[in-house]
């Protein structure tokens, strides 16, 4: 019964060379994207609410969307584990491991956001921490601090390893942070567009974050030219992943060019009615797709140093 297919038992002949990391791929990319975007959206929506750019209702609606994104991040991270049922073990070493910090901060963030949002449901509107109370403000401030932690975690969890030099640069956490805020602003823009509201200030935020993200990606590419060979090989993979479709099609065209063009049209031409709303929704979705492609490209471009 065991004779049908016998594997070659000999040891493989491994040629000394650079090897791609293959353990963190699509699922982790979705986790980092969803988590970072959800946290970024929460942070931005509260900033925009405080500065009266968006209304309380818009902030509440986008809050529920942010919650779904952040929770998706946690679920994806848990599913990815080899032993998902032991996920509680992951909180044991926050003093050394970013994975541990990532097992503590995101669930706390989701919890605080959920608590802050519950009074927005009409049935629970009389809860003692409803919007405007000191208790609500404290919960929101704690949630904002946790949002910053969640955003930082998504970049730091991959940039702290010196085994993969392409990730081991301060640019990676900064790129992930701007990408999170960019995606977060896009969610707010989508929610506003769906509600039929527009505000040019949001357009300016989107334009600013996209420009900043483009600048950082250019810096990453230029920086790679001056670094060791592993990084150059990683950068080549970053730019050519999926025959270049992931970076040039996903990150550049869908993530940068389409939303930048549409948001600029909205800012300067200000199309009225349904057309204007569709333009902004497409722009927002493009930013989100671009952000996902960006995380995926960066993860898949990771390549180890030579083992000796």
């Amino acid at each position: 019964m065991f004779q049908t297919h016998v594997r070659d038992p000999r040891a493989p002949i491994l040629t000394l060379g650079y090897r791609d990391q293959h353990v963190w791929g699509g699922m982790i990319a979705v986790a980092l994207w969803a988590g970072g975007t959800g946290a970024g959206a929460y942070f931005m929506s509260k900033i925009l609410l405080t500065t009266a750019v968006i209304s309380s209702l818009t902030a509440s609606i986008s809050g529920w969307v942010e919650l779904i994104f952040a929770a998706t991040g946690i679920i994806c991270l848990t599913i990815h584990l080899g032993r998902p049922l032991r996920f509680l073990n992951a909180i044991r070493r926050p003093h050394t491991a970013w994975i541990s910090r990532g097992a503590i901060i995101p669930p706390l963030f989701v919890l605080f956001v959920l608590v802050s949002l519950i009074p927005s449901i009409p049935v629970f509107s009389e809860l003692p921490w409803h919007e405007g109370t000191i208790a609500w403000k404290v919960i929101v401030i704690v949630a904002m601090v946790l949002a910053i932690g969640y955003i930082m975690y998504t970049g730091m969890v991959i940039s702290t390893w010196n085994s993969i030099p392409f990730w081991n640069t301060p640019l990676i956490p900064i790129i992930f942070t701007t990408a999170s805020l960019m995606g977060g602003t896009a969610i707010t823009e989508i929610v506003m567009a769906v509600r039929g509201i527009t505000n040019p200030v949001i357009d300016l935020f989107v334009i600013g974050f996209i420009s900043g993200n483009v600048l950082l990606i250019v810096m990453l590419i230029i920086d790679a030219r001056t670094r060791e060979r592993t990084v150059k090989e990683s950068m080549h993979r970053f730019l050519t992943l999926g025959r270049g479709i992931c970076f040039w099609g996903g990150v550049v065209f869908i993530g940068f060019i389409i939303p930048m063009t549409l948001v600029m049209i909205d800012y300067w031409v200000s199309p009225e009615g349904l057309t204007g709303r569709i333009v902004l929704v497409i722009a927002g979705i493009s930013v989100l797709i671009g952000g996902l492609c960006q995380r995926y490209c960066i993860l898949k471009a990771g390549r180890y140093r030579l083992p000796i």
Binding site: R86, A90, S100, I308
Partner: protein, 200 residues
Amino acid sequence: MTRWGFTVDLKRCIGCYGCVEACKTENGTPPEIFWMKVYKRNEDELKASWPFIPTRCNHCENAPCATACPTGATHQRGDGIVVIDYDQCIGCEACIIACPYQANSLWFHGEGYYGEELTPYEEQVYDIGRRKGTAQKCTFCHHRLDQGMDPACVETCPTDALNCGDLDNPETQINHLINTRDYFLPHEELGTKPKLFYLT
């Protein structure tokens, strides 16, 4: 206190892969999981004085895998050997990413050597109940060391290219080799303080 170290004499290694097979036999690792690996240099480099490079976990003093581990499953014993507690590991693969020497791996219970269905022997030696979905790597054959024996790879090596011993005991052969031969430490610049010395 004993502090285990390991030397690889690159001039003596002939690329027989005996250490790789001995490790698999001793530790019962599934297909595609190799705690001990031997790299062959590119063909244009084969005329170099050391064409084969055996590698394994370096049991670093500043082990990045232990630092990255969120559960404490990867930890260092008192004698410096870095081990994984399969009952604590959650399979997050942080140690696989963190190790610059690519010494860690994870097995999700794929095929065995004789097809999808594992033989009774494979079921026993792969320790599926504990190792499935967890990280695994070289244990320095601590079960053998504890009984006064050498690791399987060291015992099998026909050219005496592999050696191990107590780094804190000046009388051991490993200290004699380190003191009398030229050597390099893999990626010393990363600050991991590996306890594997490549003799050149």
